[in-house]
Amino acid sequence: MPALLVEIGVEDLPAEEAENIAQSFRENLLFGLKEARLPHGEARLFWTLRRFALLISDVAERQEDAVEEIRGPAVSAGLDSQGNLTPAAQGFLRRYGAGPEKLVRRKVGEKEYLFLRVERPGRPAEEILREIVPQAVREIPCSKFMRWNGGMAFLRPIRWVVVLFGGKVVPVELAGVSAGRQTFGHRFFGHPLNLSQPEEYTTRLREAHVLVDPAERAEVLRRAIRAVEEEYGAKAALSEELWTLILGQTEWPRPVVGRIPRQFLELPEAVVVAALREEGKFVPFTRGGKIAEVFLGFAEGEGDAEVIRQGYERVVGIRLHDAQEFFGQDRRKTLESRVPELKGIVYEARLGTVWDRVERIRRICRVLARELCLPWELLDRAAYLSKADLLTVMVREFPELEGEMGGIYARLDGEREEVAKAIAEHVRPRGKGDELPETPLGLALSLADKLDGVMGPILVGEIPTGSRDPYGVRRRGSAAIRLILEKGLRLDLFGVIEEVRDAYPGTTPAEAVKEFLWERLRSALEERGISYDVAEAVLSRMDGDFLGVWERAQALQALVGRKEIADLALAFGRVRNITRGYEIEGFNPELFEEEAERGLWQAYLLAKERVEKAMAEHRPKEALEALLALKDPIDRYFDQVLVMCEERDLRENRLGFLLSLSRLFLQVADLSRLVVPG
C-alpha cells in the first residue's frame, strides 16, 4: 500500500507554538483516517516554523466496506400474521429506498425488530483525503486566529499544500491553495522542489537545507551547547521556554558563539541572563555562579558566521547597555519609597490595587509566622517590599525578573539578607517544573502570595470552570500545595483561610476556597503516584493539615496490594456498612455479652492508644500497623455477635461501640474506599 505525505506550508509560525500546531494536526488527521475507516501504518510527524507534515506509511487505497443496520418497526408491528410486510414496514423501506430482501430480524433486549441492512462500499482514499485534510487543518486550535484574505482563519497564512499519495497528487483545496507536489527548501539556501514520492520527503528537504525532523535540529542544538560548555568550562543557563524557542526558530540551525563585552559582566547575573534569553535570542552560560563571557546563538541557515557574530555582539551590547541604564535609573529610589506607588496599579477591579494585595499578603504572613514559628518582623518587611519591583524599569523591560530584581535591589538598599532572599524567592514556583523557595521566609512569603492569588478571585466569585481560569487560580493553588507537600510545611491551612477571610471582599464563603484546594490536593496526590482509591480513602474527611494527608496517603499507598490490608479493608467495610446512617455517641462496655465483643473492645483500646500517639507524632505508618491488629478481632466479632439484635439497648450499645471503632479508623483513612481485588 502506498505512503501518504501531507505537508502544510505556512508563513512563519510563532516559534513557541509551532510544535503544538503540528501535534494537533497529527491528531486530527489520524482521527480523520480512523473515522473514515482507512487503515494505515506508522505515522511520522515533522515540523519547522514554516511547515508541518505527516508522513504515513501503507495507507489503504479504499475505505473498508461497511455494513450498517438501521432499526425499523418491531417485528410484531412490521409483519402481519402471514409474515407479510405491514404498511409500517413498507413505509420504512420506502424511506430508505430499499427492497424487502435487505430486511433482517434482530433482538434488542426482549423484543425483536426489523433492521435494514445497508451496505456501504468503501470509497477511494483520494476522495476521503479531499475531505479530511482540510478539516484536520481547520480544526487545529490556535492561540489567536488571523485573516489574510485567504477565506479562512488560522494562526498564520497558509501558502502551499503538498498531498502526495504514492506518486500521485491528491487535489486537495485549502485556504484558496491547491495541493501539488511542490514544496520549498530553505528561504535563502534552498529552492522549490518537486517531490515524486512521499518517502523522499526528509532527504530532499535536507538537501535543500531544511532539517524538518525536530529531533535532528535538537541534536544540532545540544551538540553546540555541549561544545561551548566544554570549551569554556561553563554551564548553559537554559530554560524550558528558551529551548522551545530556539528549537522552533530555525529550519537549519547554525551555531554562532559570541562574547559579552567585559564592562557588562559586572551587572547582576540574573539581568544578563534575562537580557540574553529575551525572546529566545541567545543561550547564556554561567561559571561558578557567575555569568560567563560567552553566549550562543543559532542563525537561520548558512550565513557568514563572522558577520553574524559581529551583529549578535552588537545587539547584546546594546541591550546590556539598556540594562545598565535601567539599573542606574532604578537605583535612584529605594524599594521602600516605591511601595506607596503600588496604590496606582489596579490588580483587579473588585480586589483593588497591588497595594491592597500587599496588605492582604501581610495579613496572611502574620498568621503564617505564628503557625510556622517564623520571625514576624522580618517576614512582614519582606511582604511589604515584595511587589515594589513591579514599579522598576528593569521589571517592566524584563518581566521574568519580577521578584529576583526586588531581592537584588533590597540587598543594595541595605535590607537584611533574609528579607532580600525572601523577596527574590517569593515568586517561585512560576510554573510546574520551577524550583521552590529555599529559605523559610521565602517559603512562607511564597505561600502567602499563592494563597492570596487563590482566595481573591474565588471569594469574589471567580471559581475556575472547565478550561476557563483567567486568573490562573489553579496554577496558584497547585503551587501552594507543592510548597506544603514538598517543603514539609505543617500547618492548618483551613484555619489560616478562615482567619483571614475578613480581609477579602465578596460574599462567597471561605468554604469555597477550602473545597477548591481540597480538589487540587486530590490532583496533587494523583500526580504523585497515589492511586485513585487511596486518595479517596485519605480525602474522606476534610483536614487542613495537607502535609498530614500526604503522609497518610504515602503510608497507605505503600501497603496497598498486601493481603492483610485488603482483609482489613473488608473487615472495616463491614463496620462501615452496618453503622451507616446511625449517629450514636459512646457505649457502655458493661453491656457487652459475648466473648468476641469484649475481645474487640480490648483490641480497640490498645489500638486507640497506639493510633492516637502515632497520629500525634505524624507517623501514619505506625497508626496503620496498629489498625492491622484489629482485623481478626473484627472478623470474630461479626462471626459471633448479632449487632442488630432485638433488645434496643443492647443494639444501640453495639452500634455505639462500632461507631467509636469507625472513628478511630477514619482518623487515618476510610479503608472501606479501597478497591480490594477479588
Partner: protein, 287 residues
C-alpha cells in the same frame, strides 16, 4: 557607501515599482507611521490601497539624551501599506532588503513572532519583528482591526527602522555616526535635537499645560466629529495622542490614570473610523 538618503531613495524606487503611491510624511506629531492618515484611513473600507512613505516618529519616552546608539525620541520609519497584500508578500519584503543593498545570504534573518497592538488607535494585528543578526529592523503586521473596525480586506503594514538598517549598510555601531549624505552625519543633524527633547520631555515639559492642551484638543476633536469633519477631528486626535505620550514620558501619569487617557484617545480614534466609514466611504467621496 550607501548613505541614509540613498537608503530612502532605494526604498522609494522599489515600492514605486510595486505600484505604491509615494506620499509624504504627515505634518502632525505622531508616534509611528501607522498614525499617518494615509494608513489609518487607507486601510479602512474595501478599496485597494498601496502607499509608501517616510515617517519621522516621535516617542518621547524613548529619548536617551542622544547618548544611546539606537534609541531616540524621534526616529525615521519607512512605512508601506499593501491592501490587499500579495500572496508572496514575505518574499517581496525580503527582495526590498536586497534592493537596498543587503546580501541576505550572509546574514541571519528571522521572522520572530510579535503581534502588534496600538491601544490608542484601537488597532491590532499579527505578525513579526524581522531580525537581522538578532536586531529588529522591521515590524511586519497583518492588520486585523483599525479604529476598532474589523478590516476586510486585511492590509499588510511594513515598518522599516531606517536607522537600524543603515547601521548594517554603513558598518557602524551608532546611528549618530551614520552618513546622511557625503557631507553630513546623522549626529550633526539630530544629536543636539535629541538631547534637548530629552531634557524637555523628561524634565521640563509643563504637566499642567499638557493636560490642559489634551482637554482642549479632545474637545475640539469631539466638536469636529459632531459636524462630520472627520479629517480635522483626526488631526486633533493625533495631537491628543502626542500629548499623552508627553505626559507619560514626564512620569506624570499613575497607572489607572494612564489607562483612562489611553481610553480617551481610543474613543476618538474609533469615532473617526466610524464617521469615515459611514459618511466618507459610503458616500463614495474620494479621499
Amino acid at each position: 557607501m550607501k548613505t541614509f538618503q540613498d537608503l530612502i531613495l532605494s526604498l522609494h524606487q522599489f515600492w514605486r515599482k510595486q505600484g505604491c503611491a509615494i506620499v509624504e510624511p504627515y505634518d502632525v506629531e505622531k508616534g509611528a507611521g501607522t498614525f499617518n492618515p494615509a494608513t489609518f484611513f487607507g486601510v479602512l473600507g474595501p478599496r485597494p490601497w498601496r502607499v509608501a512613505y517616510v515617517e519621522p516618529s516621535r516617542r518621547p519616552a524613548d529619548g536617551r539624551y542622544g547618548e544611546n546608539p539606537i534609541r531616540f525620541g524621534l526616529h525615521h520609519q519607512y512605512q508601506v501599506i499593501l491592501k490587499p497584500p500579495p500572496p508572496d508578500i514575505q518574499d517581496l519584503y525580503l527582495r526590498s532588503l536586497e534592493a537596498v543593498g543587503l546580501d541576505l545570504r550572509k546574514h541571519d534573518v528571522k521572522f520572530a513572532h510579535d503581534d502588534w497592538e496600538s491601544p490608542t488607535l484601537g488597532a491590532w494585528g499579527v505578525g513579526w519583528q524581522v531580525w537581522l543578526d538578532g536586531m529588529e529592523i522591521t515590524q511586519f503586521t497583518y492588520f486585523q482591526q483599525m479604529g476598532g473596525v474589523d478590516l476586510d480586506p486585511v492590509s499588510v503594514e511594513l515598518t522599516y527602522g531606517l536607522e537600524r538598517i543603515a547601521l548594517f549598510l554603513q558598518g557602524k555601531d551608532s546611528a549618530f555616526d551614520l552618513r546622511w549624505t557625503d557631507w553630513l552625519t546623522y549626529g550633526e543633524m539630530f544629536r543636539e535635537r535629541e538631547r534637548q527633547f530629552s531634557v524637555y520631555h523628561f524634565e521640563k515639559a509643563s504637566v499642567e499645560r499638557a493636560r490642559t492642551m489634551f482637554d482642549f484638543y479632545e474637545a475640539e476633536a469631539k466638536e469636529c466629529l459632531a459636524q462630520g469633519l472627520v479629517f480635522p477631528a483626526y488631526d486633533h486626535t493625533l495631537r491628543c495622542s502626542h500629548l499623552f505620550n508627553t505626559l507619560d514620558a514626564r512620569g506624570a501619569l499613575a497607572t489607572a490614570e494612564r489607562e483612562s487617557y489611553i481610553a480617551r484617545v481610543r474613543a476618538l480614534a474609533r469615532a473617526c473610523a466610524e464617521v469615515y466609514l459611514s459618511e466618507v466611504v459610503r458616500a463614495g467621496t474620494p479621499r
